[in-house]
């Protein structure tokens, strides 16, 4: 195996890591802030992808935007998913705050069934992928799709943006304060329900970004949400609940390990991921970057 093949594999691992990060960051936020494990997160990701696909198709038919229609398509699907996320939190998730974990599982599982079936009714059972043609560029003695660099850049930008939002902006500080003392924040006259709805909707919108970003290089279809959600949990748990930095590092680990194991032992790639997860949970149950106090 030569160096350029390894570099290519690293590139594909990195872009996979970005997809996992974009999905898992929403999951980690909703758990960190509201203590809700949202099993339907990947199904919302799927819905965002399908929305993006339809908007893209409509745009390319209407105007001569060509491949650039991807940008407004992603923006529209993110806005739509933000609204859907807000509504979901407002009408369903909100009722689950005092409930136990299994009940949350039951509710979000019902959402998986309902949303999955709605997707089937609207878009049918075909897999979808965007027909965006990108000229490969030559580097490291082989051809590379430059779009991978776009994905990696976007992932890093979102990670940096989220971190800055949570640590530097006023709203981010309120969100972090709400994690530690909901009552105190509420007593200071800040509307906790709005904060929660906003965080949930933000997580869902980032998931839509993840789906839209990957549509040109990966086809999505029904049932993918079930496989991807467990890997997202692995990422969130390895990184530590509620930690953006942890989620980022964990998605890099999972993405890169996956990309390289697939070269050596194709069937066992996911086995290795879950071995890592089990090992982390046994040694450090609260994750690499989480804090020990949370139970």
């Amino acid at each position: 195996m030569d160096l350029s093949a390894l570099a290519l594999q690293l590139l594909s691992g990195l872009s996979r890591a970005m997809m996992l990060f974009l999905l898992a960051s929403g999951l980690s936020l909703t758990f960190g802030v509201m203590n809700i494990l949202n099993f339907a997160h990947a199904t919302l990701w799927l819905l965002g992808g399908y929305l993006c696909f339809s908007v893209f198709q409509w745009l390319t038919q209407a105007g001569g935007l060509g491949s650039w229609a991807l940008v407004p398509a992603i923006a529209t699907s993110m806005a739509a998913m933000f609204a859907i996320g807000w509504a979901l939190e407002r009408f369903l998730i909100r009722r689950m705050y005092g409930r136990e974990l299994p009940e949350q599982l039951l509710l979000t599982f019902a959402l998986i069934l309902v949303i999955g079936d709605l997707i089937k009714i609207i878009w049918g059972t075909q897999n979808r992928r965007l027909p965006v043609v990108i000229e490969p560029i030559e580097m490291l003695d082989s051809f590379v799709n430059p779009y991978y660099f776009v994905i990696i850049a976007a992932g890093c930008a979102v990670a940096a943006g989220l971190w800055a939002f949570l640590h530097r902006s006023r709203y981010g500080r309120i969100v972090r304060a709400a994690v530690y003392s909901r009552d105190m924040v509420s007593a200071l006259g800040i509307r906790i329900p709005t904060i929660y709805a906003g965080v949930f909707a933000l997580g869902v919108a980032i998931a839509a970004l993840s789906a839209g970003l990957f549509l040109p290089v990966m086809s999505i279809g029904l049932g993918m949400d079930m496989q991807i959600i467990v890997q997202c949990f692995a990422v969130v748990v390895i990184g530590g609940f509620g930690s953006i930095l942890g989620t980022f590092v964990a998605s890099l680990i999972v993405g890169i390990v996956y990309a390289f194991t697939i070269l050596i032992w194709p069937e066992g790639a996911l086995v290795v991921i879950f071995l890592i997860l089990v090992a982390v949970l046994i040694v450090r149950p609260w994750g690499l970057f989480g804090s020990e106090q949370r139970t």
Binding site: P102, E103, A110, L113, M226, E267, F274, L277, W286, T295
Partner: protein
Amino acid sequence: MTDRVAAILLVVTFLAVPLVPGDFAVVVATEILILGLFALSFNLVHGYMGQISFGHAAFFGLGAYGTALVFRAFKGAGTGVSYAEFALSMLAGLPLAAAGALVVGYFCSRLTGIYFAILSLAFGELIYHVVFSWYGFTGGDDGIQGLLPPPWFRDPVNYYYFTLAVVFVASAVLWRITRSPFGYALRMLRDNARRAAFVGIDVRLCMLCNFVVAGAFAGIAGSLWGPFSRSVSPVLLGWMQSGIPVFMTLIGGSGHFTGPMVGSVVYTGLNAYVTRFTPYWPLAIGIVILLLVLFVPGGILSMVEKRAATRSGKGR
């Protein structure tokens, strides 16, 4: 009280099912019984020990594969298996599931709450992916097909009676366990683990034992599954399968011994009948589950209990 009434009603109903003409009712009832036992074993960990085993399907699946692998070994030459070989293969599921539960439980019993849930989920997925990718031994995602039991068991009604007998005995043993000193020790460490430790209960050992027992009973349910559906596949170990006992227990009510079985009647029955009438069954079932979660917290049995209490004027 509610439990006794529910148990008697369940037994009478299950005995009456073969009177319904056609095989459909019997097949659905067999599925209800098998998954109900699976859910009962889950509730040993959830209702009595207060932890959530999210990877419980691993033990169901190990039981199913244990039976299926021995079955396949006997079948070898293409002739059917004899009754003795069938019995042997049915017995193979339990020890395999219990051994799996011993390893998983050893690590899980150190944790509680969400970490317990996630570690069991992680182990479940690990075992799932091992079974899924080990083509040479487990058949990978094709699973193992052609698990045709000996002639007497091929008739759906006979297999139903066999399942009913096994599930009845297993449930009785489970019931006895929950009423034993061990069962009360479990309730105590669920409510206050520290106090239980002060009284001299070895909390970790108790949790581990209970986890192994629960895994073993899930294994029995799994063993019944293979010859019933004539095949096993890795899906039986996945997290979706692990969700099933959680849903059943919540729908029926985790605070009652019979709750998971009642939940299985509702969930499996609903699944079977709705799938028959509409291609959009996930939508229909999803909406029913949503309504149940939102408006019947604590499960059907506790709602019935409350109603009965208000009617008789006692209140709660």
